[in-house]
Symmetry: C2
Subunit: 217 residues, 2 copies
DNA sequence: CCGGATCCGTAACGATACTG
DNA sequence: CAGTATCGTTACGGATCCGG
C-alpha cells in the first residue's frame, strides 16, 4: 500500500515526529549533518555499522519529509552532498537536549572501552552545555585538531555553530593535541598548560572559551 | 550475550540516549506516563497497537535504566502502576519540543481521517505551546471533559502540569464538550460562547486560559 | 479480569556483493 | 565514490495461554 509501514497512526505531535524520525539511525544521520553538509561516504564512516542500503533509504525518507536536502558543495569539489533543510535545523536544539540527557549516563571510559570515541561527538555536548550556560563564551572562531579529527567552533552574536573539517578562515585561536589530552582538558582534569598542546593565535581567548566549552556535569 | 542487542556502541550523548530510548514505542510510553502514573492495561489502551509482550519488555528496560519506576497507587485502588522516575521527568521538555515540532506537520483531519485522535494528546502540544509563550497563563486548576476523555491542567508558580483523569480537587473552572467542539475551540475556529460547552466555575479565568492554552501555530 | 509470558508469521535491519 | 540488489538475522505484531 501507499502508506508507510509501521507508523503509529496517531494524531499526536510526538507520534508524528517519531513516524518521521523514530526509525533506527535516523537521528544519528541528523547528528552528523548538524556539523555541516556531508557526502554519502562521510556519513557511512561517521555512523559505522549502518548499511549503505539503509543509509540510502533513510536519506530518501528524510528528503521526502523535507528535513534533509541535497546540496552541491562549492565548485572545487562539486560533488553531491546532504545537508539539513530548514525543517531539520529546527531539530538542532532538541538533538542537543537529548545529547545532554544521555551524556551524563555514558559509562566511564575504563568501564566500557568498547564504545567508539570521537572528539567531535563530545564537542557537540560541550557546545550544547555552553549554549545553555548563563555565562556567555568569548566570540570568535576556534579551530580544533584532535588526533586525526578536525572541527571548528564559531561564536558570534550569542549564537554558536560547530562544524567538522578545518576552519574555512584563519581562526582567532587554534589548538592541536591528542584525543586523550583533549578529553583531559575538556573535563578539567588536565590544565591547558600541561597538555603539550600546540596552540596558535589568541591564547587568552582560547582559555576563556574552554571555561564554558567543556564536558558537561 | 549480556550486552543489549542493536545498540550503537558510540560514546556520544545522543547515541546513548537512543540506546536507551530509541526503540519503537519507548518514547510513546513515556508520553503516556508524562500525564500521570498508569497501569499496564491503561498503557496498552493508550498505545493501541503495541503487543503486551513488547510493552512488558519496554517497561523492564526503562526500569533498569531508572527512567520509569513502579509506583503504588493510593489505597482505594492499591494496584501496581508505572510512573516516571526523576530521570524520566527530565525528558519532559524534550518530549514537548518534539511534540511541537511534529504537530505542525500532521496532515489535516480531512486529509487523513484514519489517524486515531485523542484530545489529551492535543492537550500535550497545547500545554507545550503555552509553556513557551511569553504571555503567562492564569493560575489555577482547570478540568476538561472532552467526549469520554478526562484530563486536568494545573498552573501555579509559572509551572504547569497536565494529568489524565478527573481533577483530584474541585477545579477553579471546568468545561465539558464534544471532541469536535473541543478542537474547534482550541484552534480558535469556534468561539467558546458558540460551543455549547457546559462550564462550571470561573468562566473569565477559563477564557483567559484558553488564550494561551490552544493549538499551536 | 488484570498482568503479564509464550509462540509464530512478517517486516525491518545488517552484511556483503554488485553496478554505473 | 555513490548508491542498488540480495539474503540471512533480528525485532516487532498479533494471538493465545497462564497464574493470581
Amino acid at each position: 500500500m501507499a502508506t508507510r509501514p509501521r507508523t503509529y497512526g496517531q494524531r499526536c505531535g510526538l507520534a508524528f515526529s517519531l513516524d518521521l524520525l523514530g526509525e533506527r539511525w535516523t537521528l544519528l544521520i541528523l547528528r552528523e549533518l548538524d556539523r555541516g553538509p556531508k557526502r554519502f561516504g562521510d556519513l557511512l564512516e561517521g555512523l559505522d555499522g549502518i548499511g549503505s542500503n539503509l543509509l540510502s533509504a533513510r536519506l530518501k525518507s528524510l528528503q521526502e519529509a523535507e528535513v534533509v536536502e541535497q546540496v552541491i558543495l562549492p565548485p572545487p569539489v562539486s560533488s553531491p552532498a546532504y545537508g539539513l533543510a530548514e525543517r531539520g535545523l529546527k531539530l538542532q536544539p532538541i538533538l542537543e537536549d537529548l545529547a545532554l540527557w544521555g551524556f551524563e549516563l555514558i559509562p566511564d571510559l575504563d568501564q566500557s572501552p568498547e564504545l567508539t570515541t570521537k572528539a567531535t561527538w563530545a564537542a557537540m555536548s560541550m557546545k550544547a552545555a555552553m549554549d545553555r550556560n548563563p555565562t556567555s563564551p568569548p566570540e570568535g572562531i576556534f579551530g580544533f585538531e584532535v588526533g586525526a579529527e578536525n572541527f571548528w567552533l564559531r561564536v558570534s552574536d550569542g549564537e554558536s555553530i560547530l562544524r567538522d573539517g578545518p576552519p574555512p578562515f584563519e581562526p582567532d585561536a587554534a589548538i592541536r593535541l591528542s584525543g586523550e589530552r583533549f578529553f583531559g582538558v575538556a573535563s578539567g582534569r588536565l590544565a591547558l598548560a600541561d597538555s603539550q598542546a600546540e596552540i596558535r593565535g589568541d591564547l587568552p581567548r582560547l582559555e576563556a572559551l574552554l571555561c564554558t566549552f567543556r564536558l558537561p556535569e
